[in-house]
């Protein structure tokens, strides 16, 4: 049996969201529906677009964004299938969950810093407690209990404070004659201490003046000696080049909000640059790294499959490439996680600025 080819104008609209929505709601004519049925098998890109569009359509329904004919069609067609109703059920729960997480977590997805698992578990625990509060009757009960407890604590503290202040006030009133000689004694000690402080301050000032004088003399001596050396040596030779074959750097994942990438200085005669990249926590068995020119987003170099090695506080990736690839500008090292089967996935970016 021959498959039905899409009509010419259809091919241009394959990934049009409106067309896909109509297809999902069973609202397209027979021939177009068949064409998209076939594409859902044979065209990877269309299949992905279809899956994404279906999720968005279901979310739109759950969030009350569908209206008019589209809403009616969703109810009368889409919801007739038990499998599709389950998707709506999941979407409903997921929207509540995601909205709660977006409200409580720090919304930070850099090319770097992962959220702390402990903080997330703690947040999830609070979230489940918050959901307990969501039911009205329980909220009232808990609210009343907290209010009563707060009143009790406040009342106890006030009573304790009141008694303490009264005791202190009565002590002050009954023993004025005992305190006065003690006060006089303390006064004398205080005056003595002040005199001693004044003497010390004066001595300190003298020492500072002497030090400044000596530093000035030292400076003059050094200048004289330098001038003599210059006269004796004649024209200075330029310093020898270090000529290091390899230079090494360690980079950490980029933090969001950090404006300037780290600067790496590469001496002129360097042949290779060795990099060690500290990795964020992950489960990938292997990795791949690309060197990108940040200005043009061009790939200048790509590694083969790399294995990470354990370090004291995590994992790190080591590799090297020719220093000749680098000029005085900013670059990005992009790390990809390579799962056991499947295509590499972007993990982190490590920008750096080269100075030569």
């Amino acid at each position: 049996m021959a498959g039905v080819l899409p009509p010419p104008d259809m091919s241009k609209q394959l990934y049009d969201k409106e067309i896909i929505a109509q297809y999902l709601l069973g609202a397209l004519p027979g021939a177009e529906t068949e064409a998209l049925d076939e594409l859902s098998f044979t065209d990877e890109e269309f299949a992905n677009a279809l899956q994404a569009a279906e999720k968005d359509l279901v979310d739109a329904y759950v969030q009350g964004e569908l209206t008019g004919a589209e809403l009616e069609k969703f109810k009368s067609y889409y919801l007739t299938s038990p499998l599709r109703r389950e998707k709506v059920q999941f979407a409903r729960a997921f929207q509540v969950f995601a909205a709660g997480h977006a409200a409580t977590q720090v919304v930070e997805v850099r090319a770097g810093k992962p959220a702390e698992p402990a903080a997330r578990r703690k947040s999830a625990g609070w979230l489940s407690t918050l959901r307990d509060f969501a039911t009205p009757r329980r909220a009232l009960r808990w609210g009343a209990a907290f209010a009563a407890l707060a009143l009790l604590v406040a009342g106890a503290w006030l009573m304790f404070e009141n008694r303490r202040l009264r005791e202190r006030a009565s002590q002050t009133q009954t023993r004025p004659d005992v305190l006065t000689p003690r006060e006089q004694e303390l006064q004398k000690e205080l005056e003595g201490q002040r005199e001693a402080n004044a003497t010390t301050a004066g001595e300190l000032e003298r020492v500072r003046e002497e030090r400044a004088r000596l530093e000035q003399e030292l400076k003059v001596e050094r200048e004289k000696r330098l001038a003599e050396q210059q006269r004796a040596a004649g024209q200075q030779q330029p310093p020898a080049q270090s000529g290091a074959g390899i230079v090494s750097f360690i980079l950490a994942p980029q933090l969001r909000g950090v404006e300037q990438p780290p600067t790496v200085t590469i001496p002129t005669q360097t042949r290779y640059v060795a990099m060690q990249l500290r990795l964020e926590p992950n489960d990938y068995p292997a990795y791949q790294v690309s060197l990108l020119d940040q200005a043009g987003n061009q790939t200048l170099w790509r590694s083969g499959k790399l294995k990470a090695r354990a370090t004291g506080d995590g994992k790190a990736l080591g590799f090297s490439f020719r220093a000749g690839l680098l000029g005085p500008q900013t670059y990005v090292l992009r790390v990809y996680g390579v799962p056991a089967s499947g295509t590499p996935e972007v993990m982190s970016d490590y920008p750096f600025k080269v100075v030569k």
């Binding site: 049996m1 076939e38 994404a52 007739t80 090319a111 999830a124 979230l127 926590p281 089967s341 972007v346």
Partner: protein, 209 residues
């Protein structure tokens, strides 16, 4: 990691009438030369289930398995299928299976009632409100457990990608793709896969709980 779990799922789903050799031949044919560890089989099966579900068939899982069994038997009989690429051939067989199912359901009065019930939304008995609420509560608890198993970056992606409405959602997604340094399309695919994984985990959790 993918090949272990997918191989296990593959073992659960295959028809008992297929010999191991026939099943292995089917997997190899779907893989088209690169070993996907059963991933291609599971993906094709899911596409078939979705196809039959879109056609409002009452038993999309069974029809998907019937389709794949027929393809496997053809491979066993002829050794090779050269007429079409695997995806297209599976679609062609699926169409046949659907048409047969439709004819059979039209003849069978009991099946006809079932189909009518499927296609007339106002006759579908809605769940009781308390039962719905209980299921939602279970799902929320399971979502916490299941998102806890995700990698931190994937967890962040899935919670940011699907939050918000209208223009806010579009802007969130654009910013997320930019932060990750990937195209919008790559982000869509990644978010979809994470959500599918999450949904499967939640269903398993709710079913077990």
């Amino acid at each position: 990691m993918m090949s272990e779990s997918s191989t296990h799922k593959v073992e659960q789903k295959r028809d008992e009438t297929l010999t191991p050799r026939a099943f292995r031949r089917l997997l190899n044919w779907l893989d088209e030369g690169t070993d996907s560890g059963g991933h291609k089989y599971l993906e094709m099966r899911q596409r078939l289930v979705t196809y039959f579900d879109r056609k409002n068939c009452a038993m999309p899982d069974e029809l998907a398995d019937e389709t794949l069994n027929r393809v496997a038997r053809r491979l066993e009989e002829e050794g090779v299928i050269k007429s079409d690429a695997p995806a297209r051939y599976c679609y062609i067989v699926a169409r046949f299976v659907f048409m047969e199912h439709l004819r059979a359901s039209q003849k069978d009065a009991a099946l006809l009632d079932d189909v009518q019930r499927q296609t007339r939304g106002d006759n579908v008995v809605p769940s009781e409100a308390d039962e719905e609420k209980e299921i939602t509560e279970k799902m929320l608890n399971c979502l916490e457990q299941c998102t806890g198993k995700l990698e931190p970056l994937n967890r962040e992606i899935i919670t940011r990608y699907y939050v918000g409405k209208g223009q806010v959602k579009i802007e969130n997604r654009r910013a997320l793709a930019e932060e990750l340094g990937i195209t919008a399309n790559a982000l869509i695919i990644r978010a979809c896969r994470i959500r599918d994984k999450l949904e499967a985990c939640v269903r398993q959790c709710v079913g077990a709980g």
